[in-house]
Structures are given as C-alpha cells and as structure tokens.
Amino acid sequence: MLQNILFFVFAILAVAGAVMVISFRNPVYCALSLVLTLFSLAGEYVLLLAHFIAIVHIAVYAGAIVVLFLFVIMLLNIRREERAPGSIKYMVYLGVPLGLVLLYELVSIGFREFTDVYVKATDIGTVEKIGQALFSKYVLPFEITSILLLVAMLGAIYLSKQKLEIVSK
C-alpha cells in the first residue's frame, strides 16, 4: 500500500519535472527541474529494490552532469532563452505524431510488462548481485569499459599537463 502511494508520488513528480524542463524559459529553472525528475526516478528505482542503480543515478546525473549543465549556463550567463518562432512551427507538426507513437508504445508494452518486472525485481538490484553479474557474465564488457575510462582519464591528465608546458614557453 505504502509502496503504491510512493510510486504515484514519485511518478507524478518525475512527469511534472520533465514537463517543467521543457516549459520553463529560464535555463537555470530547467536544469533544477531536471534534478527533480532524476531524483524521482531514483525513488522509483528504490521501490524496485534496485538500490545500486538508484544511488548511482543520483551520484552521476544529479550530482555531476546537471552541475556541469548549471556551470555552463552560469558561465555563459544565459539569462533567458531567446524565442525562435521559425523553428517552433515545424516542431508541432513533427512532435505531435512522434508523441503519439511514444504513447502507443508506452500503453501497449509498458503497462503489460509492469506487473512482470515488479514481481521479478526482488534482489537483482542489490550491490552484491550486480557485482556478481558484472564479474562473471559481463566481465569482458566491464573490463573493456573500465580500460576505456582509464585511458580517457589518463588522456585528460596528460593533456592538462602538456598545456602548462606550452604556456611556460
């Protein structure tokens, strides 16, 4: 019962946040609404007992990516979105059919799968289960991803060190 109430609270907050992201004119408000959506989605993940994905969701998206969005918005000092009347016209013709397709997908597949997922999601989301899956079944993709990230990190460090030498010349 409590879970159902929480589900609808988070769902309404997530949808409301998503609508606010695209309807606010002020980009800072848009970014903060995105945080609300991400937070509510993390709440839904917790209800599905997927604790790990919920907390990583908050750490990565809300904690880092949206902060970077805000950094850029404030660095460029974008006060208000400029109105672009030309592009809006075509967006309506394109957006409504695409939206209907998405709605059809949601209704036909999403609701059918919902009960199924709800029953299955007992303990697959805990840290132990995800760790076991990552290091047994998906060990090769996991290692490739980690090497990719390590190379990217080393590249970033190398580039930042090199730039200093050019400046000092």
């Binding site: 800072v28 408000y29 903060l32 945080v35 604790h51 790990f52 907390i55 990583v56 908050i58 750490a59 809300a62 904690g63 880092a64 902060v67 970077l68 805000l70 950094f71 404030m74 660095l75 805990t126 840290v127 132990e128 390590l150 990190m153 970033a156 460090i157 930042s160 060190k161």
Partner: protein, 347 residues
C-alpha cells in the same frame, strides 16, 4: 505491537536523537569553538562573556539571527533565493543517516527480540549513499549564487560547482581503495574490517587524499574559494540575511561534522577502541557499547579540531592552484593508491 512497528519507532527515535539532540547542538558548539579556537591561535580571548566560558554565545547568536530583519534584495529571483538555504541544508543533514556510532546489541523491547544498531540505516549501498548525497550539496551554493543576482555571488556559485566536481573524483578513488580492503560497501563492515589495524596505516595516501578532498567538499579553508571574503565579499551568501544566512552556516558545520565522522569511520577504525583496551577491561555489554561510542566521538572531535586548526593556519589557494592540485596531483595519486592497495591485498 508487532516487530515492524517497533523497528519503525526505533528508527524515528534514532533520527530525532541524532539530528536534533546530537547534530544541531554540536553545530552550535562548533560555531563557538571556531571563534574560541581562532582566538587562541591568534593570541586573543574570543567570546567569553555569555555564560561560563562563553558557552551560551551560540544561543545569543541564534536569537540575534532570528530577530534580524529578513531582507529580500530588490532584484533577486525570489523563489530560488528562498529555496537555496533549504536545498543546502537537506544533503548536509541527511548524510548522517549512514554513520555507525557504535556496534549493535540485542535487547527485548515489548516482548520482541530487537537488534539495536547505533546507526540510523545500515544500507546495502553504504558509502555510495554519502558520495551521491554529498555531491548534491553543491546545488545550494550554485542556486544561492545565481538567485542573488549579484556578480560576486554568481562567481562564488560558479567556483563551487567546478570545485565540487573536481574533488569528488579523488574522494571517490580514495573510497574505492577502502571498499577494496573491506570487501563491502556497508560502513559497518568497513569498521569491522579494521578490527586489528586501522585503514590509515594500510593506505596513508588514500587517507591524505580523502582528508584533503573532504576539506574541498565542505568549502573550508584552504579551499573556501566560493566564499573568499577578500575577493568575493562572502561569495554565494553575500545577499543573505538573518536566519537564511545562518542556514548556510548550519549546513557548513554539519558537513564538517559528517565529514569528520566519515574520515573516522573509513580510516580510523570507526568505533573500534585501540590497543585491545576493550578486551583487557572485560566490561558488561552496555558499558562496552558506550565506551565504543565515546571512542568514536573522540576521534570525530579530533578531526573537527583539525578542521578549525587548518582554517586558522593556512592561507587560501588560488583558483588555478586548486584545480591543478585536484586534477594533476590528487587524481593520479588516487589511481596509484588503488594500485598499491590491490598489490598489497594480492601478496
């Protein structure tokens, strides 16, 4: 009453005790200690007139903040201006939930065997909870800086966003090394894994990285670039007055307290009492628990003192120095630390 209700009531009692009876009075005490210790370090007396040894000074300060006029500057973004102190308080107070103050004990309450933990929530995701909620602390600063509509505040918010992201990464890498040793994310298991030797002896580099990063995350000197008084006139909270201004300080001190607790938990053995004193004394369980909580609080207190000591000793970094330290020194060191710990565990 069934066991579920008893557990729920125990959790609520724990939240009330930790947040309202422990955290907030400790924050008040810290504001006093900050002023007293800064005074001692500068060869002054500090506030010593309100109550014995100035102990009631925080209450006088609080009353003053309450009775000050609550000013809305003319061109602020009213909604976000009001939200910023709330946004900054939320992550500061919620992260204390996972801190283990002591071991667990079993007692009978209302005819049920209840496992009483001295921790609000022993989460499966443990330390990751702290990482993610601590990273939300930056929103209060950024939103406060933006909403104030003041270029100094704006610069403060801007600086904080880049600084927080930069120092989260070395902090995360230091935590990875700790988790590798403990083989678990749960803070209770991390404490239990340090029963014989504390983590800071195994991984001194990780310890130093974590301490430095937590100074940066809490915006304390030498990393208080977002509020640098001399250049930014107070930064993100320049335009705030009365209790809203105090909210920023409550958040800063609660962040400091939680950081000190986590340094203790991750690297100084949490509630473990050193040198086998516990075994030698051989006390009843309840006394053992209390001594362990006391040990935890003493270790936390030492780090809180170091926070103040560093603040009144070291000068502030320049912004480029801060970025260089974060990305060029601490990030490679953090990776090296992980390698060292991995080799150590293998052999």
């Amino acid at each position: 009453m069934d066991a579920q209700w008893i557990n729920l009531i125990i959790t609520v009692v724990k939240i009330v005790v930790v947040v309202f009876i422990f955290m907030l009075p400790l924050v008040m005490l810290m504001t006093l200690m900050e002023r007293r210790i800064s005074a001692f370090l500068q060869d002054r007396l500090g506030p010593n007139r309100v109550g014995p040894m100035g102990i009631l000074q925080p209450i006088a300060d609080g009353l003053k903040a309450f009775f000050k006029e609550d000013i809305f500057p003319v061109n602020v973004d009213r909604f976000l201006y009001l939200m910023a102190p709330a946004i900054i308080l939320f992550p500061a107070l919620i992260t204390v939930a996972i801190v283990p103050f002591g071991d667990q004990m079993s007692t009978y309450i209302g005819g049920h065997l209840v496992n009483l933990r001295f921790q609000i929530a022993d989460l499966n995701i443990g330390i990751l909870y702290f990482v993610s909620f601590a990273s939300l602390g930056v929103y209060g600063l950024v939103v406060g800086g933006y909403a104030s509509n003041n270029k100094y505040s704006m610069l403060g918010g801007l600086r904080s966003s880049a600084q927080m992201i930069s120092y989260e990464i070395p902090m995360g890498l230091a935590i990875v090394a700790v988790v590798m040793r403990a083989q678990s994310l749960s803070l209770n298991d991390i404490v239990l894994s340090q029963a014989t030797t504390w983590n800071f002896l195994y991984e001194p580099i990780g310890f130093i990285i974590f301490v430095v990063a937590s100074f940066a995350e809490t915006n304390r000197l030498p990393f208080d670039l977002p509020e640098a008084e001399q250049e930014l006139v107070g930064g993100y909270h320049t335009e705030y007055s009365s209790m809203k201004f105090s909210a920023f300080f409550i958040a800063e001190y609660s962040n400091m307290i939680v950081s000190s607790m986590l340094i203790t938990t991750l690297f100084l053995g949490g509630w473990q009492v050193p040198f086998g004193i516990m075994e030698a004394l051989n006390l009843p369980v309840i006394w053992e628990q209390l001594i362990q909580i006391l040990a935890f609080l003493i270790k936390t207190g030492i780090f809180l003192f170091i926070y103040l000591w560093v603040r009144w000793t070291l000068p502030r970094f320049r912004y480029d120095q801060l970025m260089n330290l974060g990305w060029k020194s601490m990030l490679p060191l953090g990776l090296f630390n992980i390698l060292l710990v991995a080799v150590q565990m293998k052999f």
